[in-house]
Amino acid sequence: MKRIRLPLTQSAIKKLKVGDEVLLRGALYTARDAAHKRLVEIAKKGKRLPIPLKDETIYYVGPTPAMPGRPIGSCGPTTSSRMDLFTIPLLDRGLSGMIGKGRRSKEVISAIKKHNGVYFVAVGGAAAFLAKKVKKATCVAFCELGPEAIYLLEVEDFPVIVAIDSKGRNIYEKIGTKKGGRKKAR
């Protein structure tokens, strides 16, 4: 198990290999479908983005509202592929890390390689478990979007697995593919 501090550094990213289990500590941003759409619209117009992207990590999540006295509600990852359309412009602007669940497009994998980025996966559906790893949550942009707003999260020992590393190696390549289990199933 590796321990990594956020924001990520270029050298820390280079050391991460596909399949590595990592505990994250530090600050990251949340964003899902609606926030991605808005960020990319703002970027296309050449305007200033409401959050810095350089070396930052975005977690694809729409949490449940927090109970009184807690920082956040349940907060497991959402499907990353829905963000694929918007990911490359964000990587172009310095984004380094992403956390979600599931596969990414070929284009996103190439862009991760090109920009020395990393894509982590968190355990889909382990939302109450992951809530315990978040120490603080502050809405920083698009707050009117509710669960789809951008929050700055402080996390501690947040468990993730490297799914695509900076060399473009992809954890899903060999899992459950037609080359693998499918033929046996027939």
Binding site: G62, T79, S81, V123, G124, G125, F129, P147, G176, G181
Partner: protein
């Protein structure tokens, strides 16, 4: 006639929505625990996280999953029941609204598929009503997340399609669902009827405990065979490899037309959430 005040319906819907969001179904939890005993390495650890997740959810009243879903309500209304008070639909909607406000569950419903403005209450729910004999009302709430819902598929087969072709299709749907649908999956399959009926049967199939097989022996055999085949895909917990790609396959059937054979597959995740009671 037996009179039931819709206030009772409202309270019961709220209670069931809350239970389903916080407590994993016993059949699902026990299937995850069985899989935990079977797996090794990373797959075992990931299933351990899911078991721990369900424990935290129930103990701390945190939703099992942040996607607290679109609510689907199945009502089996005895024909001798007379609902009194506020309208039934309004009462059910109010029950959902109560549960999501009080439980601080995520509001995930938008009022229009194109304009996409959040209704802020997680309503409306989708209500299916069936009239049955006698004077009881069975209320089932189904909380459906969209990570898995998005992976569901329907195919209109030729009436002469072989059972192998149908198995191959269902297997393909499970394979395409992959890591995004939060495996280990539960598959609800509907066969027969029409386009809409097959989809509804697939959904209803997910309400049946996964340790109960279909009453028809040929369908029960198909359920068992499919579960075995899906678990050979190697997708595994969280889609990161392993023997447990699905926890259960439930199939429901209905008579159909001489010219067709609709097959619908409703994909559900390891947090297949439903709760039911009788009024």
């Amino acid at each position: 006639m037996r009179r039931i005040d819709t206030k009772r319906v409202r309270a019961e819907i709220s209670r069931l929505c809350t239970t389903a969001n916080l407590k994993l179904r016993p059949d699902i939890l026990s299937a995850i625990k069985n899989a935990y005993r079977l797996e090794k390495g990373r797959a075992k650890n990931l299933l351990g996280v899911l078991i721990e997740n369900s424990r935290i959810a129930a103990k701390e009243r945190l939703a099992i999953c942040q996607d607290t879903g679109m609510v689907e309500i199945f009502l089996e209304v005895g024909q001798e029941v007379n609902f009194v008070g506020v309208g039934l639909k309004e009462s059910i909607t109010a029950g959902v609204r109560d549960a999501y406000a009080k439980g601080r569950f995520r509001k995930s419903i938008v009022s229009d598929p194109i304009i996409r403005k959040n209704t802020g209450t997680n309503t409306p729910p989708i209500i299916y009503t069936e009239i049955v004999p006698r004077d009881k009302v069975k209320v089932s709430t189904f909380i459906k997340g969209f990570g898995s819902e998005n992976k569901s598929q329907l195919k209109m087969f030729r009436p002469t399609a072989t059972i192998d072709e149908i198995r191959e299709f269902i297997l393909k749907v499970a394979e395409e669902a992959g890591p995004e649908a939060c495996p280990p999956l539960v598959l609800g399959v509907g066969m027969g009827g029409t386009f809409a009926k097959a989809a509804l049967l697939a959904k209803k199939a997910l309400l049946r405990p996964i340790d109960k097989r279909n009453k028809s022996s040929h369908i029960a055999r198909l359920e068992k065979r499919l579960l075995k085949d899906i678990n050979k895909l190697g997708i595994g917990p969280a889609g990161l490899g392993g023997k447990t790609t699905a926890l259960g396959v439930n199939i429901e059937t209905f008579p159909t037309h001489i010219a067709g054979l609709p097959v619908a597959v409703n994909i559900s995740c390891h947090a297949t959430r439903s709760a039911a009671s009788i009024l």
